[in-house]
Amino acid sequence: MNAADTAFVLVCAALVMFMTPGLALFYAGMVRSKNVLGTTMQSFVLLGLGTVVWAVVGYSLAFGTDFGGIIGGFDFAFMRDVGLDTANSPAENLPHLAFMVFQCMFAVLTPALITGAFAERMRFGPFLVFSALWLILVYSPMCHWVWGGGWLGQMGALDFAGGAVVHMSSGAAALAGCLYLGKRKGYGKEPNIPHNLPMTVLGAAILWFGWFGFNAGSALAADGLAANAFVTTHFAAAAAMLGWLIVETLHSGKPTTLGAASGAVAGLVCITPAAGFVSPMASIVIGLLGGAICYGGVLLKGKFGYDDSLDVVGIHGLGGTFGALATGVFASIGAEGLIMGNPKQLWIQFVSVVATWIFCFVMSLILYKVVDAVMGLRASEEDESKGLDVTQHNETGYQW
C-alpha cells in the first residue's frame, strides 16, 4: 500500500463527491425558480440512493470477477472482501476501500447527469426507481466493460476517466429520456430563462474543481501521469470556455456567462476520456474544438425539436463522443493514436462509441418505458405548471 497514493485518491474521491452537489447547483440555476428544489433533489438524492445501490450490488457488478467480458460477479456484493488493506483491490497500491469509494463517486454522479434532460417534468418516486435500475443495469455493466475487465477494455478502448462510462452513457440516456417524455408544457412559447445564473456559475466552478479529482485521481497514483491528467483537464476546460465564447459571439453577438460556464463543462467532458493519454497542448486543441462543437450540440435540439432541458445530449453526449474519438487521434502518452501513426486506435474508439450509444440508449429507453408503465413517469400538467418544488416535495426554494 502506498500512503501518498492513498492520500491522493481519498482526497480525489472527496473532490468527486463534491461534483454531485456542484451539478445540482449548475442545473438548478438554469431552471425556473419553481423547480429549483426539484432539480436540486434529482442530483442530491443520488448521493444517498446511488451510494447504497453501489455498496449493495453495483460495485460488485462492475468490479467483481468477470463473466464473459460482460458483467462482474457478486463477490463484492454488500462490501464482502472489500477491506482496509489491498487484498483483492483492483489498484494494488490502494486500500480496496479507497478504490471502491473513488469509483462510488462516479456511480453517483453519472445518473445525476442524465436529470438535466428531463428536468422540470418528472415525478420524484419513479425517478428514484429509474435511477436505481439504471445504475444496476446500465452503469455497472458499462463500467465493467471499460474498467472492470470487460470486453471494451480488453479490446483496447481508451477511456481514461469516463468518456464512455460517464458521459456518453448519461448522454444516451438523456436523449432517450427527452424523446420518450416529450417536451415541457409551454416549451418554445413561455420564456424558459435560467432563474439564477450565479448559482449555475458556482456549480460549474465546483464541477471544475472536483474534476481534478475525477481525472487526475483516475491515475490512481500521485505521479507524473496524475500531473498530466490534472494539466490536460485544466487546459481543456480553459480552452473550451474560449472556444464556446468565440463561436457564441459569432453566432449570437455576445459572449455570455452561461456560455463560459457551459463551455468549461464541455471542455471537461471532452478531455475526460483523454486526460492521461494526451499532451497538454493537444488538450488545448481538444478543448477549443470541443467548446465549439458542444455549442453546436445545444443548437441541435432546436433543429430536431426535442426538449433536452439542460442540454445533456449536446454537452455530455456529444462532448463525450468527441472526446473518445479525439483520444484515438491525439493519444501519445502510454498509448498511440492517429497522430502517432496508429489509425487502429481511432477505429477501436469508434467501435466503443457506437457500442456505448446503442447499449445505453436502448437500455435506458426500455427502463423509461417499464417504469412509466408501472408508475407513470411524468408529472401531471397541473403539477408541472405549479412546479416540482411544491408538488413533489412540499417546499418552495425561496421566501423573501
Binding site: 420564456p191 405549479k386 411544491v390 408538488t391 412540499n394 417546499e395 418552495t396
Partner: protein
Amino acid sequence: MKKIEIIAKPFKVEDIKEALTELGVKGMTVSEAKGFGRQRGHKEVYRGAEYQVDFVPKVKIEVVAEDDMAPKIVKAAQEAARTGQVGDGKIFVIPVDDVMRIRTGETGDDAI
C-alpha cells in the same frame, strides 16, 4: 380616463401584453402579487412542521387609458388572460382624474 387593473396568472403576461398592444395600447406597468381566492393554495412542510400557503402567485397589470378605450381593454385582457380554470383573476376599472407624462409634462389624454 380610467385605470384598468388586471390581476392574472403570471404566465399570461405576454399574451395580455400582446392583446393590448394590438388594441393600440402604448404602455402598461406590471408588478408581482400574491392572490387569495377560490383557487386553493398548497401545503408546505419543513422538518415535519406543516404550513398552509393560501396565497398563489399572480401578476398585476395596470393600464391607464382614455374612457372609451377602457371597455375594449377589459374585453381584450379578459380574452387573453382566460384559461377557464379557477384562479384566472379579476379586472378592476378605476376612475382616474388626470395623467401626466413625466418626460414632457403633458397631461390628460396626450400623456397616455
